[in-house]
Symmetry: C2
Amino acid sequence: MRIGEYLIKAIEETGTKHVFGIQGDYVLNFYSQLCNSRLKVINTCTEQGAGFAADAYARMRGFGVLCVTYGVGGLSVANSTAQAYAERSPVLVISGAPGVSERQNNPLLHHRISSFQAQFNIFREMTCAQAVLEDPDTAGIEIARVIKTIQETKRPGYIELPRDMVDKDTYEQVLAPQEPVSCDQEIIDQACRAALEMISKAKNPVIIAGVEVHRFGLQDFLLKFIEHLKIPFVTGVLGKSVITENHPQFLGVYAGAMSPDSVRLAVERSDCIIAIGPMLTDLATGMFTHHVRPAQTILVSPENLLIGSHSYPGVSMEKFLELMILLPQPKLNFQPQDNTQVPSFIPQSGKKICVERLIACINTFIEDNTVVIADVGDALFASLDLRVHGDTDYFSPAYYASLGFAVPASIGVGFAASEKRALVLTGDGSFQMSAMELSTIARYGLNPVVIVFNNSGYGTFRPMLDGSFNDIQPWEYADIAKIIGKGKGYTVLEEEELYAALEAARDNKISPTVIDVRLDKYDCSLRMRQLTDNLKKRVK
Amino acid sequence: MRIGEYLIKAIEETGTKHVFGIQGDYVLNFYSQLCNSRLKVINTCTEQGAGFAADAYARMRGFGVLCVTYGVGGLSVANSTAQAYAERSPVLVISGAPGVSERQNNPLLHHRISSFQAQFNIFREMTCAQAVLEDPDTAGIEIARVIKTIQETKRPGYIELPRDMVDKDTYEQVLAPQEPVSCDQEIIDQACRAALEMISKAKNPVIIAGVEVHRFGLQDFLLKFIEHLKIPFVTGVLGKSVITENHPQFLGVYAGAMSPDSVRLAVERSDCIIAIGPMLTDLATGMFTHHVRPAQTILVSPENLLIGSHSYPGVSMEKFLELMILLPQPKLNFQPQDNTQVPSFIPQSGKKICVERLIACINTFIEDNTVVIADVGDALFASLDLRVHGDTDYFSPAYYASLGFAVPASIGVGFAASEKRALVLTGDGSFQMSAMELSTIARYGLNPVVIVFNNSGYGTFRPMLDGSFNDIQPWEYADIAKIIGKGKGYTVLEEEELYAALEAARDNKISPTVIDVRLDKYDCSLRMRQLTDNLKKRVK
């Protein structure tokens, strides 16, 4: 089988149906093979847009593929790949490359960085596995190895495909599935006893449902665990909605000092925190303002199980959840609550919109099939208070924190799950970086609703240090649809206008809708104020 | 002196007056120092836009500075930095970074890639010198070393500035100027004799004036050399206009099979080619279709002097040009020509515009202060036939070949030389990647004329392999000014409309003008046809 065809076959076997990217002459004949396959190629305006789309697709479906040309394409997805690495999104990056035969005598070929090795070296810093398919004899096994490592680690991988190798024959390879990490039964029993003891003694235990539960596909296990023990749970910034927020045991999103008091106290006054796959990043902990006592914590991560100060190597997240379901239920006073309702929003006539009321209004428009994607900034911080219905139907780059993710991510969501509908929350600074991808959305007939939190610049930085560098040129965001030939746009200043625009957006199911919400320059959510107070201390 | 202030002082000493970038919390207090200095900070919409602007600024002024935040900022300028490396543009990349004290215990700080070392490792692949200013005692000398290496090699350099180091005191450092490479007088004499012999025997010698003459600031030397020997000269794709194209000895732009016949024959039938600082890239040689006999070639590069097959180590480009001026003039039949005129263009009523006539028309609008910036694609290939007046008043990324360079590059030109005016030639695919930077242009009151070669997609690839991946969503490019609040726009289909739009653009000196030239999907310049015929052979 030819190398290119085998690569396509291996991608198809992951369940992937779409490939995102922009072509170029070094990858042109592989594109030709892609177009003749069952995979659908989705072309974005920029390579970074394709990178974010593939990342979102991977978060939704467990695998995503990005295909670009050498140098100019590869380096243009460095940032999106780094984000996928940091936040554990399993994206395969395929880069075309000059042919092996062309590289003889080290010629100055276009798109070359410094040496022909440079791009490989760069991607080694941000992928879990790398291969240059320069030898037909090993290409098959290299493809299998990279894809398997992506699936096991939930991190991006890198395959470089010299253009004269695409049609060369290689051997098909199937790697043996990874042996589950064997674990000593004695250790398992010890872990069980220790967990049981800590949980059964606890008066007010709480579960932190972390993002890695989603990345490793363990939501069903976690849900069983939560419902069996009847312990209330919170989620984190990255893992918001990993279990549906309609669940009667859900308390809210915990993020250190950035949390609502009720959630913060439930966690920080708990005498037993069971944290499953959280990523303890600075933003997730409200800039390390979280107050959690290790002695009263069970920390379950993909790499380790810690109960108090005791480590139980080899007990995986899955194994731990399985075991916990067998434990007797602790006796608790926790009263389940009705989380299915959100407060109604009645727009006030003539009232200028503010962030707090914007979120309250959006909340009433979230439906069962809504996927919320938030860009970094107050779009993220404020949106932590939205009530998302489905499992993992909220995401944002809340750790690596690259601006301009949300609009192109909605392309990935559109193709990953056509029954869903993306609700994009973006700042005006972020939107200026990513607005061109509305064109891709229009081209492929997707229908996200894009809400621009327009506060005239980089609002997150203003409380830390203000200056003209936080300002941006004002745009008529609502008119972008006129440029790209498709879509609706609304500029709203008051609550009634906002409500009407959201109603119109809900009904426009055939094209993108942009709602430019004109906010006061210094308005922000309570959560952002709490965060920036802490960030400010760290700037110097 | 504080590290941040010393960095600013060192930048000022290069003659640089502007810094391009986008801030972020890791670089915020350095931004504060920048804003209090004489340097002017220019904020773009995307970091890559800032990267291209700094590159163009560096090409114009000999030094450019880019300042971004960690991770999301750093990796977003990887592609533009690689281009600056490949094409020898001396750009200093400054990246903010987490404080040294914050890195203890290896925390998951936002914008972190994999390790805290990753960004440094990545930039090592595309810069000539690197430093992390983590030690106040050495920060001063590290700054001096990186800047000196940039100036000597004409390649980008990288400085990473942890945010808790900005206000720490360091020592000011002045590095000794580089000793000129000493050269044995015997070798110089030998080189002189060999060059004299080859040139004096020649019946039809020709000079190739290459891009590295410009990068090392030797245009005046080269001009003296050319005028002293009265030998005709050509330029290359990267070095187009390194000497004014109005010069009576100028023959045209040479690029292998991509050259006009008159230029190609002048070079390939020459019995003595004197190539000064050319970069023999694939695009510059028409995909290595150039026919040049080494035995009849004098090849002068920054690193070496080759006369025939004989190498003369240590004879620099500057030294060689100095020596040549002392040689007796060869007797030649070459007749200087009047290159000051271009054929007039009379628009034909009702005639649809084509690439060939578009270039002919633009040619009549080029003025003495026009700087032409061409994006890769037919905007580049076709524009090789434009007659540029000034020295190095044409540039394009004709080697590394990243799309979307030209619009943000015009920002760099605007600040590098306020008496000049940028004429941007871009394809529609390129423009969709870079159009947001018109907003930056509007914000700062710059006035480039942007001509969109709108052929409904990635036209360069269509002759190689066509498919839907070469198509893009059609936009109303002329209406972008309405979104960004400033500027003029024209959509032109016919010659008379084009002419009128160029007249209007010439007169609009206060804001950007976009001219959307609707071309046939398969129309292209003769040069592009010649190139793609050769590229096509290499795709597989």
